[in-house]
Symmetry: C2
Amino acid sequence: MPQRGRVPPTLEAVAAHAGVSRATVSRVVNGTPGVRAELRERVRHSVAALGYVPNSAARSLVTRRTGAVAVVIAEPDTRVFADPFFAQQLRGIGHRLAAHDTQLLLVLLEGRDDYDRVDRYLAGGHVDGALMLSLHAEDPLPAMAAAVGLPTVFGGRPGWSGAAGEPGPLYVDTDNRDGARQAVRHLLDRGRRRIAVITGPLDQTSAADRLDGYLDALGLTGPDPALLATGDFTAAGGERAMAELLAGSPPPDAVFAGNDLMASGALRTLRAHGLRVPADVAVVGYDDLGPAAWSDPPLTTVRQDVRHMGELMAELLLGRLGLAEGPTTPLAPVITPARLVVRDSS
Amino acid sequence: MPQRGRVPPTLEAVAAHAGVSRATVSRVVNGTPGVRAELRERVRHSVAALGYVPNSAARSLVTRRTGAVAVVIAEPDTRVFADPFFAQQLRGIGHRLAAHDTQLLLVLLEGRDDYDRVDRYLAGGHVDGALMLSLHAEDPLPAMAAAVGLPTVFGGRPGWSGAAGEPGPLYVDTDNRDGARQAVRHLLDRGRRRIAVITGPLDQTSAADRLDGYLDALGLTGPDPALLATGDFTAAGGERAMAELLAGSPPPDAVFAGNDLMASGALRTLRAHGLRVPADVAVVGYDDLGPAAWSDPPLTTVRQDVRHMGELMAELLLGRLGLAEGPTTPLAPVITPARLVVRDSS
């Protein structure tokens, strides 16, 4: 590390020390691929020996590219780590970004203080773009990105539209409303008549759209309060919501939960109450991630290809950055299909 | 966004457009705290209107600081997201970094290709330092960080020592060997005589040290092959390992698993074999994260304060960067104590 007060060594000094060209040092320091490992090692050695501090300045000034993309998840770490949805989506995103030699940086947000810091980070030119997941209606992140012109793609349909005259936001989602309709029609087909719903947070479009699909299938314009409970997309929330629904009289004979985690919580509550699934209460979830197939009984659910959605998000952003390969993906929102998967819980 | 071929607008142009000083623009663009929200908004508006692309160049050239720290986890996302250990450690790290207005960037590594890209990212001056978790013996990350002089703190005792004459690596760990000794002595105290061990990957010091503690308590210099099975710190690995151990004759009357996830997998296998815990086989885990208390039966385990370890790692790194507040933390490895927590599984 350079000492305070000492003139920092120049790129030229590193080149002379390593016995390579200035261009080679620049390529190693700027992380340009294609420098032989042996040369790269020699430059690294000289960098260390002289205490040259490489930084992104030179590269950013020339290319205005950092080679990194932030994935911002507006949820506390406890939730991000507990829901396989995020792991799957990150896997898809990371896979596509890696294929374009772009580094994924995961940024989690919890409290108000975090927003200020993340705002400054996103405004600081450290990343070429951002993918934003799990936003809630009033989330200030989109405005932050727009204010500094940071190319951004959203996971899930945003709950706002672009300002007049501006292009709308880019996003990837499934057809949540149609998926929910399929789930509830399936329960109707099985002869269920008191079908309850456990929703996610209704300030998220995924939760609101799934509730709308539930209402569509039942031909209702608004829910029966005795058959609606709000969870928070967590297993514990599903447990609590199911207990609320069972307190009603008569209890429901089926429940559509807005994701698999809440459905698994509902299964636990039903078991604790000595109720049989599906004989007494049929249960349908949403997502079809690992836990759906492993739960007891295995869960009927609505499949969305979460990993593929992550890949599509990354592709949209790469397209927006002018880095897409092959046939150009249209720069427009993508809605992927949802498909009912019937297992033993219904 | 600036158009190709157009001369990018200057900081001065933004200042003139916003009607503020150049210094104010610079502070907003560089993310320096303390600019009034109203001024910040005005500058942001001008930045967007002119298509000025702020980047980290100016700031990095002046301060040589980016305000960001990378947390690099050398595990695939499936493992990082399945083990609450990482969520807890990240929570501790994020909490301390946030208190120093430093952004945490999570970087996951899976295959060989990822290493090359992460190497270039770490060498590119995008972050002020790195925290590296869950390294395996032959991991090239430490050498990468050293080659570019990136200040680094490790989670868990590294399996290598520094080069001769250099200071050793900075790290935070628990006393894994002592924790394992406590676990196995407890099983001996309960009258168990055929105590098996399920280890994590033995190219990680945490796994190797816990095996050594097991041997210490039993007064052995090497394990009985019939009583040792290797897991991979996952629940599925624990399930498989327990099945292997039960195939031996006579089967063990106790098992010490190297973490709670493997212990929970072992519980599942024992249940599937119709064996009672602890009557037939006592089980002890390691970590004492949430799942230990919720498992059936609740798990006797060795508690390490994982979140606090994360905080200590962040503090060491901040100290190394000259950013620590208050009484200076000595820049030396920290070993936190391990403590047996007895529950129903033993």
